[in-house]
Symmetry: C2
Subunit: 639 residues, 2 copies
C-alpha cells in the first residue's frame, strides 16, 4: 500500500488558464451568488432559508424552519468553498462573511455540542431517531469539512472548535459502547469528514468513530431496521439505497444512491490508508472496477436511474435517461483522488480527469450562474420535455434547485482543483493532472519546486522544470493518460526511456536545478467505442480529444441529430475560432445525413439510402447548452 501525501494550497499554486479561470468564476460569481441565495436576497432564485434557519436556531429570529432537512449542508459547502478560495486568494470581505457564518454557527450550537437547525428549531424531540433519512450526520459531515477548509485557509480555530464539539457530541451518541446507538448515517459523508478532522486535530477518536460508522454498516441485525421498528415505521426501505444491504467489505457491486456510495467509498479509501486496512482497500478496488468498468458514462457520470438517483445494473447506461448527478461525479473525483494515495494507478487519474473535464464541468454554465443537477448524454427537447420517464432530465440549466446540493458542491471542487494535481512521498513526486502550476515539497531534506507548463487539455505537450538548491535523486512519476496513444519523455531535450507501470512513467535520476522534462502525448480526435454490452451505444462512437469528450448540438448541426452518421473515412479537424464559445475549441468532421424528407411514411422497405454529405461541428461536452437550447448528442452512429 502506498502512503502518498496529497498537496494543498500551501504546496501547490495553480496558474493555468483552464481551471484558474473556473476558480476565479467561483470566487467572483458563484460564491457571492450563493451567499445571496443563502441569505434569501437573490432575486433570481427562490429563498433558501439557510441563514434564516440558523438565526432561528440561535434564538435571534422567530419563525419556522424552512427548506430541506439537510438545508444546513448548503452553508457548510459554501463555507468550504469560501475556505478554499480564501486559501489562494485572500479577500477581507469574504472572510468577514465567513466569520459571520461561523459566529452564527457557534450561537446556534447547543450547549452539549449538538448542531442541526432542523431538529433544534422544528423537532427537538426527534434528534437521532432517524439517522437513516434525516441527514443529521450528513450535515455534520459537511459542517466539519467546511470548518476544516476555513481553518486551513485562515488559521482561525473557532469553526474547527465548534465542529470538534459537534463531533465529540456525536461520539457520545454512536459507537460500540453500551448505551450508544449502533448506527451509521443513511447518507454517508461524516465518515470522510471525521478522517479529515482526525488529520487536522490528531484526535484519534474521530478516526475511530469514522471506522466504526464504516464497519458497522450493513451488519446484521440491520440498524436501519431496528431504528425503523423503534419509531413504528413500516415503510419498505431498500437497504442497498444506502449501501447498507451487506457489510462494506462484502459489497461486490456499486449499489444504491450514487452520491452516498461515492462518499462511503471515499471514506473507505481514507480508512484503508490510515489503518493499513488491506481488506478495506481490496473492497475499494473491487467497487472501483465495478463502477468504472461497468457503470460509468463516458463523461464520468454515474447513476443510471433517476429512481433513487442510483446505480442500476452492469452496462445499463442509457444516454437519454442518464442521471449522472453532478454531485456523484464530484464524489467519484473525491474517491479517485483518495485511491491514488494508496494504490497509485493511472486508472484513478484517468477517471478523475474524465469526470472533471466532462460530467462535472457540464454541471455549471460558463457564466457560473446556472446548473445541471442531471447530466444526460442525449437530449431532444420535444421528447425529453414531454416524457414522464425523462422528467428528471432538464434540457436547460436551472438557476438553483430546491435540493441545492450540486451548485455548492461544484463550487467547493472548482475552488480546490489544485489539491488534485500532485502527490508525493519519500521516493518523489507524482503528477496526476496536467495544468500550469507549481508544486513545492520537501524531498531529500530540501525544498524542491516542480513547475508545470502546458496548454492542457487542448495540447498534449507538458513542460516541467525542477528547481532545487542541491542535486538530489528521486522519482518524478508522470501519469500517462489512458487516452494517449504514445508518449515521449525528454529530459533536458534528450529522449529518455521511461518505465511505465500502472499508468505512470517514472523518471528516476539525480535531478539538478533547472532540469527540464518534456512530456509529449499525441492528442488527436479519437472515436471511442463502448464495451459491446452497453446496448445504448451499439454501433456508436463518441468523439474524444485528450480527456475531453465532445458532443454535437442542434445550434451547430440542426435538428434530428440521431440521423447523423459519421463517415467511415475519419478525418476530423480541430479548430479554435475567435468569438466561438468563449474561445473553446471545436471539431469538424464529415458525416452523412438523410436527404431532405420527401414524404412522411412511417415504415417503408429499406431502399438505396438517399443521403447527403455534411460536415458536423462538435463542441466540448461540458460546454453544451451555453448558447441556444436544443438537441444534444454524445454518442454518434458511425459507418
Amino acid at each position: 500500500m502506498y502512503k502518498l501525501n496529497a498537496m494543498d494550497e500551501k504546496q501547490v499554486t495553480l496558474n493555468d488558464s483552464f481551471w484558474s479561470e473556473r476558480a476565479k468564476l467561483v470566487r467572483e460569481t458563484v460564491i457571492p451568488y450563493q451567499w445571496r441565495i443563502l441569505n434569501d436576497i437573490e432575486l433570481d432564485a427562490p429563498p433558501s432559508f439557510t441563514i434564516r434557519n440558523l438565526k432561528i436556531a440561535a434564538g435571534e429570529m422567530h419563525g419556522e424552519f424552512n427548506g430541506m432537512v439537510f438545508q444546513d449542508s448548503d452553508i457548510a459547502k459554501w463555507l468550504e468553498a469560501a475556505g478554499y478560495s480564501l486559501a489562494v486568494h485572500p479577500d477581507k470581505d469574504l472572510e468577514r462573511m465567513a466569520d459571520e457564518v461561523v459566529d452564527l454557527l457557534e450561537r446556534a450550537q447547543e450547549p452539549d455540542g449538538y448542531l442541526d437547525t432542523y431538529f433544534i428549531v422544528k423537532e427537538p424531540h426527534k434528534k437521532w431517531t432517524n439517522v437513516r433519512d434525516w441527514h443529521e450526520l450528513y450535515c455534520a459531515g459537511h459542517l466539519i469539512e467546511g470548518a476544516i477548509a476555513y481553518f486551513e485557509a485562515t488559521g482561525k480555530r473557532k469553526a474547527l472548535d465548534i465542529m470538534c464539539r459537534l463531533a465529540d457530541h456525536i461520539s457520545t451518541k454512536f459507537g460500540p459502547e453500551p448505551g450508544k446507538l449502533k448506527g451509521y448515517p443513511g447518507h454517508e459523508e461524516i465518515e470522510l469528514a471525521l478522517v479529515k478532522l482526525y488529520r487536522v486535530t490528531g484526535n484519534r477518536a474521530y478516526l475511530d468513530l469514522s471506522n466504526y460508522f464504516v464497519n458497522e454498516r450493513g451488519n446484521q441485525p440491520n440498524f436501519f431496521r431496528i431504528e425503523a421498528e423503534a419509531r413504528q415505521d413500516e415503510s419498505n426501505y431498500n437497504l442497498a439505497y444506502s449501501q447498507a444491504h451487506v457489510p462494506v467489505r462484502e459489497q461486490q457491486t456499486a449499489e444504491g444512491h450514487a452520491v452516498r456510495a461515492m462518499y462511503l467509498y471515499s471514506a473507505m479509501a481514507d480508512l484503508a490508508k490510515e489503518l493499513n486496512d488491506e481488506s478495506l482497500l481490496d473492497a475499494c478496488r473491487r467497487l472501483w472496477s465495478n463502477v468504472t468498468q461497468k457503470r460509468m458514462f463516458i463523461t464520468g457520470g454515474i447513476g443510471s436511474s433517476a429512481h433513487e438517483e442510483a446505480f442500476t445494473v452492469d452496462y445499463d447506461l442509457p444516454n437519454d435517461r442518464a442521471y449522472a448527478e453532478t454531485c456523484a461525479s464530484i464524489g467519484l473525483v473525491f474517491w479517485a483522488h483518495r485511491m491514488l494515495q494508496t494504490d497509485l494507478n493511472g486508472d484513478y487519474g484517468d477517471v478523475m480527469e474524465r469526470a472533471l473535464y466532462n460530467g462535472i464541468l457540464s454541471g455549471i454554465s460558463m457564466d457560473g450562474k446556472k446548473y445541471f443537477y442531471v447530466n444526460p448524454l442525449e437530449v431532444w427537447p420535444t421528447t425529453t420535455n414531454h416524457r414522464h420517464d425523462m422528467q428528471s432530465v432538464k434540457t436547460t440549466r436551472q438557476s438553483w434547485f430546491g435540493c441545492a446540493c450540486c451548485p455548492p458542491n461544484v463550487a467547493r471542487l472548482l475552488s480546490s482543483i489544485h489539491r488534485y494535481i500532485y502527490s508525493y512521498d519519500s521516493e518523489g513526486i507524482c503528477v496526476h493532472l496536467y495544468a500550469n502550476s507549481e508544486a513545492r515539497w520537501k524531498q531529500s531534506e530540501q525544498l524542491i519546486t516542480l513547475s508545470q507548463q502546458s496548454e492542457y487539455p487542448w495540447d498534449g505537450r507538458i513542460n516541467l522544470t525542477v528547481q532545487m538548491h542541491e542535486p538530489a535523486e528521486f522519482d518524478i512519476k508522470l501519469r500517462i493518460p489512458g487516452w494517449s496513444e504514445g508518449a515521449t519523455t525528454r529530459v533536458n531535450g534528450k529522449i529518455v526511456s521511461t518505465h511505465i507501470e500502472s499508468g505512470y512513467a517514472t523518471v528516476h535520476r539525480r535531478w539538478e536545478d533547472g532540469d527540464q522534462i518534456e512530456l509529449l502525448m499525441s492528442m488527436r480526435v479519437q472515436r471511442v467505442k463502448a464495451n459491446k454490452d452497453v446496448r445504448a451505444n451499439a454501433g456508436k462512437v463518441a468523439l474524444q480529444r485528450g480527456p475531453v469528450v465532445f458532443c454535437i448540438e442542434e445550434v451547430d448541426n440542426g435538428t434530428n441529430l440521431s440521423d447523423i452518421v459519421l463517415k467511415r473515412q475519419f478525418e476530423p479537424e480541430f479548430h479554435f475560432r475567435e468569438g466561438f464559445l468563449e474561445g473553446l475549441p471545436y471539431i469538424t468532421v464529415q458525416a452523412w445525413r438523410s436527404a431532405p424528407k420527401k414524404d412522411e411514411i412511417l415504415y417503408s422497405p429499406l431502399s438505396v439510402d438517399e443521403r447527403v454529405s455534411t460536415v458536423i461541428t462538435a463542441i466540448p461536452y461540458f460546454s453544451w447548452c451555453n448558447r441556444e437550447p436544443g438537441e444534444m448528442l454524445v454518442w454518434l452512429r458511425t459507418e
Copy 2:
C-alpha cells in the same frame, strides 16, 4: 363518403388455419378460463369478484364490492366473446352460463334501469358524480356491446332489453335538455356501443345520445372541471388524458390514454357514417394520419408511455419502453374497420392487419393462458426487470391482471375476426383481409358467394371463387397491402389489368358462377426502415414478411441481441420446421456480431472491428416469449 356494410357471422364463415385456430383457442381455453376467473374458482389467478359483485348487487349475497371500479366490464367483455363464439359455434353449456349471467344482470339492475355494481353495492349516493374517473358509462358501454353480441348470436332479447333500460336511464341523466348533466364519460366506450344499440334496435335516441357525448366532449366550460368543482376535487387533471382538452373536431393530434382515444375515434367514425358528418370524418382522417404516420409502433402498438398509458409526441417510439397496450391495438382495429366503411382506403386495412398479426396477437400466449398487457419491441431482462422506468414492461406473460382489461378484449376480438374480412355495398364486395373464408351477400337481387382460399399470412397467393345463380356485373375490390411490391390478378387464369385506387384493386366485370380470381402478391422477407425522425430506430431495420413482423429472441440467438448487425448483403431464408414453435415459420439471415470478449474495458478507441459472421434466427413477433424467457429485439442494426 362510402356507406359500406360490414358483414357478420350470418354472412361470413371463417375456416382458415390461422385465425380459426385462435378462435378455437378462445372458445376452448380462454372463455372457460375467464369464466372460472370471473367466478373466483380459477386457482392460477387471483379472485376477480366480478360475479360475486353482481350477486351482492342483486341482493343474493352479503359482502363488500371488490375489484376495480370498472370490474363489471370484465363480465361484459366475456359475454361479448361468448356471443361471438356462440354465433359460429353453438354450445349449450356456454349458452347456459351466459344465460345465467344475463339473469343475474337483470336481477342486479335497479328498477330505474341503473346498473353498475360498484355504485349499487358501495357508493349508491355517488352515482353520476364523477363520470370522469369512475367508469359508470364505460361499463354500461361494454355491457351494451356484450348484450348485443349475445342477442345476435342467440336471438334472445333479455340481455338487450336490460341494456335498453340502462341506456334509457342514462338518457334521462345526460343530454342537452335542462336538468340533465352536460357530460360525457372519462373513458369513452359507450359512444360506440350506443351506435351499435341504435343499429340493432332502430331507436334513434341512442344514436342521438352517442352524438351528444361525442360533440359535447371538450367544449367550454369543460364538464370535467365543473364536475370536479361540484365535488370539491382540486386535483390537477390532464384533460387531454381523456381527449377532453378541445372539441373533437378541433383535435389535431392523438392525445392521452390510447385505449380511450381509439374508442372515441371509433365512435366518431360510426357517427360520421350514420349522420353523413363529413367534418367529423375529416377529424377522423386527420387523427388517423397522426396516429399511424407518427405515433404507431411497427407492430401496430400505440401508446408510447406507461405514464397515463398514453400517446406522447410525434416519432417518440421507444422500443424498450413502448406501452403498446394490447387493448389499444384492439381499439385501433375497431377504428380502422369503421373507417374502411366510409373512407375505403388500403391504409386502414394495412394498419388493421399490422395490429392483428403483431401487436394484438403478441398479447396472448400460444396456449391461450398467459397475457401481455404491454407489448414492448425490445427487452433485455437484466435491465428491463431492474429499471424503475421500465417497470410496466414485463418480460414474461402474466396469468391475469388486477386491471384485466386486455384478456377479455383479446377474447372478444379473436372470436369475431370474421367480421373484419369483407364489406359490401351496391357496387360490389371489398376484401379487406385474406383468410380462408366464405362471404355471402345480396348483390343484383341474388345471393352471391365469394370463397377465399389462401395460406395467408405465410403465402401471398389468394384464390377466390364466385358462386351465383345468374351472371351479374359488380366490383370485387381486393386490398393490395402496403407491404406488397407488386400484385398480379388473374381471372380464370388470365392476367387482368386492374386499376388500383386507394390501395384496392378493383376487378369489375360481369361475373359468372364459378369464376375464379387469383391474386398473387410477392411475399418476401423485407427490411423495413422507420421514418428518419424515429430516433429509436436510426440505423436499424425490422424484418417483415407479408403483414408479419419478426423479432429475434435470446433462446435462438444468445444474449446481447443489440450487438447483432445484419449484413449489407441480405439473403434471408424462410423456413418451416416440424416441431419448431408449433409449426410457425422462422427466418434465418446472415449477420455480424462482436468477437468473443477479450477484456472488459468500458471505453476504448475504435479499432478494426473484430467481428464474427453468424446466422440469426427470427420468429414472428407475436410468438415471442412462448419458449424460454430472455432478450427480444425487433429493430436490428444493419450495415
